[in-house]
Symmetry: C2
Subunit: 304 residues, 2 copies
């Protein structure tokens, strides 16, 4: 006989954790119903994104605690909100874990996730819980922006400067050495929410986060904007990282953006350095050049 008691108890525990965290008043119904109910405001657009974290691809059970995995699951999805210049509102979290892991493990996963959610006054509004032979999570985040002001990939124009926040290659370096500050940063990356909001207010022309490496992500931005890009040599390279790691390393979660020549881009935004790394050009759509040559995109491809 299959007893539902265990699942009901686990869901109740998640609900208690969620209710001890921030509760947005506009979530009129959270965990405990078939769906979460949200009351939108006028004059704002909502942005939605979802991201997987998959055992053996984005983490392993040997290197990451359950809390690290919960934190990472939300951080990856939040980085896409940061890319749009959005402020986080709520998340819907789907989690599958092996039966043996159930209660304590699941509680630690949610505590890690809620630690980051609370920082942004985000509500854990619902999701799915399932048993599977591997740990898999998918986090959907909802954020808000004033109407029509989301930062898109498609707004870059020839002549715009290309910029990045922070430093590049740190995560690739951390992955290679698996220790120190670079490794800690890879375990618990900081989504650039505050910087994204500041860039939206600044009126940047296009933007995205760097999750799969600068070369691939800039290529994507150029395709959406139907432009090409010329990179300069003065990349902000993280301590210990190589130029290769800065160009192609994934999971830095910094923001890549473009701004028209008339926009005064400050040297620091929300505590992060901001560096101009190139200029948008009118060349072949999607092409990225570095040091006078075409840069092949070697960033992380999920299907290579």
């Amino acid at each position: 006989m299959r007893e539902p008691v265990r699942e009901l108890k686990i869901v109740q525990r998640i609900r208690d954790l969620a209710e001890s965290g921030h509760r947005d008043r506009r979530i009129t119904r959270g965990i405990g119903d078939d769906s979460a109910v949200f009351r939108p405001h006028a004059n704002e657009d909502l942005v939605f994104t979802s991201d997987f974290v998959l055992e053996g691809r984005h983490f392993t059970l040997q290197t990451h605690t359950p809390g690290d995995i919960g934190y990472l699951a939300l951080a990856r999805s939040l980085s896409d909100l940061a890319a749009m210049g959005a402020e986080p509102v709520f998340c819907i979290v789907s989690l599958a874990v092996p039966g043996g892991h159930a209660s304590g493990w699941v509680g630690q996963f949610y505590r890690g996730l809620l630690r980051l959610a609370d920082k942004y006054k985000m509500t854990l509004a619902g999701g799915d819980l399932a048993r599977f032979d591997r740990v898999v999570s998918d986090v959907m985040c909802c954020g808000r922006v004033p109407r029509g002001e989301a930062i898109l990939r498609s707004g870059a124009k020839p002549g715009d400067g290309i910029y990045v926040t922070g430093e590049l290659g740190g995560s690739a370096h951390g992955f290679a050495i698996r220790r120190g500050k670079a490794w800690g940063r890879l375990l618990r990356p900081q989504p650039r929410i505050e910087a994204g909001v500041a860039l939206r207010r600044l009126g940047v022309s296009a933007g995205m986060d760097i999750s799969d490496g600068l070369s691939l992500d800039l290529h994507r931005l150029c395709i959406e904007s139907r432009v090409s890009a010329e990179l300069e040599f003065n990349l902000p390279i993280a301590a210990g990282a190589s130029v290769e790691e800065a160009l192609h390393g994934g999971e830095d979660y910094e923001l890549l953006f473009t701004a028209s020549p008339g926009t005064r881009v400050p040297g620091r935004i929300a505590g992060l350095s901001v560096s101009q790394i190139g200029v948008i050009t009118r060349g072949r759509i999607g092409q990225v050049r570095f040091g006078g040559r075409v840069l092949k995109s070697k960033g992380f491809d999920h299907f290579s």
Copy 2:
């Protein structure tokens, strides 16, 4: 060297498929950016839900085509919108597949999913695509209801009638025999969207979908409403199914709801039969009785 060409092509293909489907005008930005952008209307609430489909748990690659899996992934999530009486608006789809499956398989998955999405004029607005050694999908659906009118689990009162749409146990029976109409229904379940909208307009007191079996799901509804339930013997049992299958079988995706004695519940709603199967009582919270005895919840428990 990792080449991004393949992933970019697959994403472009998904985008072409999505754009050939229904495009809600309020999705001002869909696939191609870091997040989808949605412009909400005033005077409505939005409801959000997500559901996994996991290889080996909800389907197998031997019994289900990629189109069946895509259809099922959306149907499971839509059933939660039906439970709230919501009209579907858009979905965000995360899909992980083994590298070997990539392009054709992924296209068929999305075609199966979009066939159902188009039926409800739903937009495929974004998601995540990843490589994994198992097929995993998580579908987040957004629906809309007039402000404050979502059907909740928590509104049932002692004296309310308990009702279900359609017949019960058909999916459990289909799973047991793996052929015929019952099996076809298990492959491509029909989310009860139209019935859910009609029940919302009728003003039912509480409701949910039956995904894990009547005994378990009614227990959950009773807990949320802080009431108990007395079932009658005249359950609407699907052809070939047993009473056990009707009481405890999962994945029927019919709607379970309660209505006050003053509500005139019709015998058919949106083409489905509607049967009263019991009454809400003032007993021990969460207890479900059937034939004068306490009914143990044997429904599908994801952690048993």
